[in-house]
Amino acid sequence: MRIQPRQQLLEIWQAIGRQSFSDKAWEFGAGGDASSVSDAEQLLCVLYPATELPSLRLDVPDETAEDVLAALRGLGDSVQIPRKMVEAIAEFMGRHTEDGAPSFAAGHYIEALDTAERPTPEQYRLGVVDSYSLSITLALATLGFLKVFRRTLRRADLREMADKLEEATSLRLSAAMAALLRSFTVSVFEPDSERGRTLCSMVNQTGAPNRTVVQQLQRRLQPLRATVRDYFTLGLTTTGDLDNENLLFECGWSWGIVKGNPPVDTSEDVGFQPEGVAEAAPYLYFTVVALDGIADLFSDRTLTLGLLNEGQQRMAQALQLRWELTQQYWSALARFDDEAWPLEDIPWRTTDQRESAYFSLLVASILVQDLVRRRATDDDLTRTVAIMEELAVRSRTTRRMGRDDGALRLHDPGVVLTLYGSEELGPLLRWAVSDFSAQLLKRSLQLGGLSRNIGAHDRLIRLAERVMDHLWQRRIGDGPGTLLWDDLSAAYPETVPRPPRLAWNMTERVTECLVVAAGVIGQTPIRSPRLIEVATDLLSEADHLLDKEMMQLSAGGFRSVQDTLHEAEVQLQRARRIVRDRPGTACALALDVLAKLDGLAAARRAAGGRG
């Protein structure tokens, strides 16, 4: 299916309008334990596209597009829509504030690992990296939205509401940044330990002796190690062991605030900083989630709108260091051996001995971000395309799911992550992630946007379209959440997975994908040097023939001939102007001119003149 971000986003908005608005007020997902993750995802489904894509903006009521108004008419008119959104975000802030401090509770997203048990109320209130990361995205979207929307406000009551919301949002942003700093961890281990051995065997794709691999690893990681030692001070316990260069390490984000990580020392109000309980070991999933949220902190939009205050900027810099380091680390592992990338050896094995195609996808995700950040060469990129394609096949996203296919577990129940450390407050907890296909789509599109190689670009876009086919099928047919996600059985009719269930995380991931797709479409087409060459040659011939034709034009010539020549001249001028950006169009114009000129020549030949 062709990806049409604008139409598809509007279709989603329309469905959300039906789902989330009763009596024209926003309704957060019902259910016992409020989840700040799910609520944020629900809001972002509207707010993220509205703040990222200028053509879908809602913050200038006078400029809201008509199809946008039509899709959201459930909320009201161009004035009411932004007001309802502001009210909805304000309600979100109130809903997820405890004793005046922002709370980041996972709510129903967590379960007890032992299904016979139930998490304790304290555990339901545990903050998670998903919530911190989404809060950053949500807060930045909100702050930018308010910045523009405020300009149109004259009524005192509305101005006050906007002021209050801005204050609450800024506090939530600071709190989320502080919590993310404290959820970051560098875990150090002996090369001889089980973790060390697993890591070495994962990166060792050529059967080199273990000692050599350890040495290579240590050499590769040396500059990163130095960065951690010298610059990481905020919210991280001393990493003394890092000085021992014989040890290996892993870095990234744990599932929540890491046990023992000190409060962030900042003059900024970041709310109450609770003690952490999470195990000091990075989880690939939460690392990818954190990286996504942090990237928004230094996006062009954040910088141009000036959304961060001074204290926040300081934390953002600290987060950026961790962001870069983590990307470099995992990207180095993924591409450890040029001959055979560890990443190509699907499935990826984590240091705690777990294997899954999802982990491969997550490492690929980090690699993609790293490629984007480094504006990488096409070689690395083209190599990643094949990995994406294979992951699509392995996960049965682009293939039929067999009756007893093990791949079904990737989507239902998803990859189950054990939240070590949570047992301090009750039963050991788990977190299931089942967004494989959406994650795959997003990374394929990001790669597609990066690729300047026509072949690779085309493969990625075709892949994205096939994944989109799959995702679009998974929309719920009827009942609660009609035309939103997620109904797995619609895509895999031969299996018996879970019943349809409105999942804001999938819905949010798909809207995010569509925003990425809109960005890709917004780029200028990839320049084909071959086409430019052809177009230039065609233009030169057309120019020449036109000059010849002009020479023959007598003063009393027919009007229609004059018009044709004049039109040809204008077409060629335009073609010359666009030949570098759109050589294909320039070719078409030149060919049209050539055909017109030949029409004149052929007619003269028929009259027996010179052809």
């Binding site: 200038v60 009521p61 006078d62 400029e63 161009s78 149109t152 406000l153 009524r155």
Partner: protein, 306 residues
Amino acid sequence: MLVFATSDKGGTGRSVTSANIAYRRALLGDDVCYLDFDFGSPTSAAVFDVPSALRGVDQAGLHSYLRGNVAEPKRVNVWSESDSASLRNRPSGSGQLVLVPGDRGGGEFVTGGDAVRRCTELFLRLEEEFDIILVDLSAGRSYAAEMVLEATSRPELAEVVTRWLVFHRWTRQHIIAASGLVYGDRGIMAAGAARGHDEDTLRDSVRFVRAAVPDPSSPMFTQLRPAQAAWLRACHEDLTRLASQHRLGQTLVLGTVPLDPVLQWQEQLITDDDVLASRVANTETAEAFAALAVALTHDRAWESPL
């Protein structure tokens, strides 16, 4: 309620639209009075098709009244004096529809304190008698506009609800001109503030009416070539942005009147006959006028939206 209809430029359909609004309000059962304050060219009688007052009345028009020559300006009952067949039979349930024309050849004149006093008195008298008094001001910054700003700033009229309709066509020049008329150096806001009007109240009493707006979905445009349609759309988006920047964006628009061939050739009231029986006019046009008539007293449309 006092409603002032104004525009910066001519050809905005100000007279024809406000006459149609008056007509629609009367159909809804209100007693409506239409004052022709376009002193330079009093032509509103033509829209109502009242032959006795074409180009103004011979004597006792608004000019004579404001100069103090007569105690009361002449009134024309549209229902009984119009030549138009569909107007002459006053529809059942409708209210009064009275036209107060100017004098023929009366011309613009410099107003003095006396004229302002008489104008105030006239408004007060009519306010008691009519539900809606629609005052058609001339295009641009006129003495008439200054006079009514002066009159409405007086304590006698403080209790009377006053609203301003600013008409403009959907073009670059018109948008900029209309913005200047309201917010410019010598615009309504500045002139009103100088006469003691509260700025916020005055701003909230101004709404814009977009006239002759091409509606791409209308049957008139089904024959457009794709290139023309693309051009039209791009222009429309540009104008939307421009209007927003000049503070006359959608949120301050009371209504939009589509481009209608009938109004292009002849300024007239669009009756239900024109739409349903002879079908010379577009339904959308009649609906736009009716919607404007309703919006005129719809309080939410006049609240500061944001």
